[in-house]
Symmetry: C2
Subunit: 285 residues, 2 copies
């Protein structure tokens, strides 16, 4: 496994693989890897002849009051974990490499970014779309693998890839959970022991929503109300949003007729946790 | 020479060339080709093993009151001209191919787009950057050739390519002019015979600016004032802007110390004409 820090070197590495007819798979991450990431890498390993991952805590997707400075980092451990799952190359750029002097170009999506995390984290998806566009141009993958835990992010990236004619396939994988149902996240380390029960209100709330849907409930407000009351009943849980949206536009729906997703963001202590459930699918909680 | 209309076909064509070690050169155009375009294609022919051009009147770079509907089009003639200069493939997409249902992604630059045409044509450079990003992803060139007549556009595209890590080289070529000095433009066909003399005030104004600079004038206001008075003295000429800018930031400068460009936009009848001169360089007027 090699570690690449420079843009030109990354592009030459991938271009040389592509020219030899090799299929490049890519898993972009912000590091501090958990089993969710490793699951993405295992899938990438299967999808490509060569697996590249990136480890980069992207400043442009953090708001000014967010946790950029204290976002957990551990490159040594990440590097060993990558080697363990068969990563061929880690792209590990510096901020100066990614956003040099005079940097000024951003990718904006006008619809799917407007609701949910787009409302509570202004500029977040502009940062995500921009850094992914850059990473796709740097790593030149045939396929890139993302987790469905960040559901709106996956919708944003798929839409950008279609709209900007980026020649790669985006694959989304099911959320990986702890034994108790908590969705894996690098931010889970912020949780204190007495906050755990409140953190589980997200996955349990989704299970409640699934239950109502499976019994025939199609009124979004009824499901949102029940889930909000359930989560709100937990002492450390502060709801950021509880919405049901169309999975194409990410706009709120009143009735669950087309493909809909329940998306949650809840603050538990200093951790902001997200989770989601696409109605009609299985839920491993 | 082949004509390609579909995105996937365009990408496969270029990918197959790249995989065989061929260098792809690209000249994007809005069609209605003149000798300026053909000069770009001749250069593209030299720079690559294979030359692709695109003919696409991009709606997102036109404002609501601009000349999108009446912009001149003649694909038959363009196609013959391309064949004549050795183009291998014309990419000729439809609007539905470029901007399908749910399209919503745009590339924005925050600094170099703010002055000049960015002021008089709001959204213009967003449209230019977006369509160029798309075309670069569709055609996958090693090198793309643009004219310096659209100087700010060239700065925008170079900046976007750097910022988004697009793996291609941008080459800018000198403006090609009519015998009387008028910069070649597809919009010159809007000019009526009695407007020609007024149209020549742009290139002649630039020559005046060069003369002042060569004699040692470094005060931007003095040069702008002289050129504005000269152009304004022509009966059909209505100045949109006369500015002197830094060529990296495209911000106005007070003194011509670093690399500076005089940029002009003038309405002559229904035609909006632009021209420019980078101080210290030659001017073929």
């Amino acid at each position: 496994m090699i570690v690449i820090e420079k843009a030109k070197e990354m592009q030459q590495y991938s271009e040389s693989l592509r020219n030899r007819g090799k299929k490049v798979a890519f898993v972009p991450t912000m590091g501090y890897l958990h089993r969710g990431h490793l699951r993405l890498m295992e899938e990438g390993r299967k999808l490509g002849d060569c697996l590249v991952t990136s480890i980069y805590v992207n400043p442009t997707q953090f708001g000014p009051t967010e946790d950029l400075a204290k976002y957990p980092r551990d490159f040594e451990m990440d590097s060993r974990l990558c080697e363990g799952v068969g990563v061929d190359a880690i792209y590990f750029p510096s901020n100066d490499e990614m956003y040099p002097l005079h940097y000024q170009t951003y990718v904006d999506l006008q619809v799917v970014t407007q609701n949910l995390c787009g409302l509570s984290r202004p500029g977040h998806f502009r940062g995500v779309a921009t850094v992914c566009a850059k990473l796709f141009n740097l790593v030149k993958p045939h396929v890139a693998v993302f987790g469905k835990k960040d559901f709106q992010q996956l919708v944003v990236i798929k839409r950008m890839v279609t709209d900007l004619n980026l020649d790669l396939e985006i694959v989304g994988l099911d959320t990986v959970r702890e034994a108790d149902g908590l969705a894996m996240s690098s931010r889970n380390i912020y949780l204190k022991p007495d906050e755990r029960e409140s953190a589980l209100s997200l996955s349990r709330g989704l299970k409640k929503a699934k239950g109502m849907y499976d019994k025939g409930e199609r009124d979004a407000a009824a499901i949102i109300d029940a889930v909000s009351r359930f989560i709100g009943g937990h002492p450390h849980a502060k709801i950021d949003y509880v919405n049901i949206c169309d999975t194409t536009t990410m706009k709120d729906v009143a009735r669950l007729d087309g493909e809909s997703v329940m998306a949650l963001a809840v603050r538990v202590g200093v951790a902001r946790l997200i989770d989601n459930y696409v109605f009609g699918e299985t839920l491993n909680v």
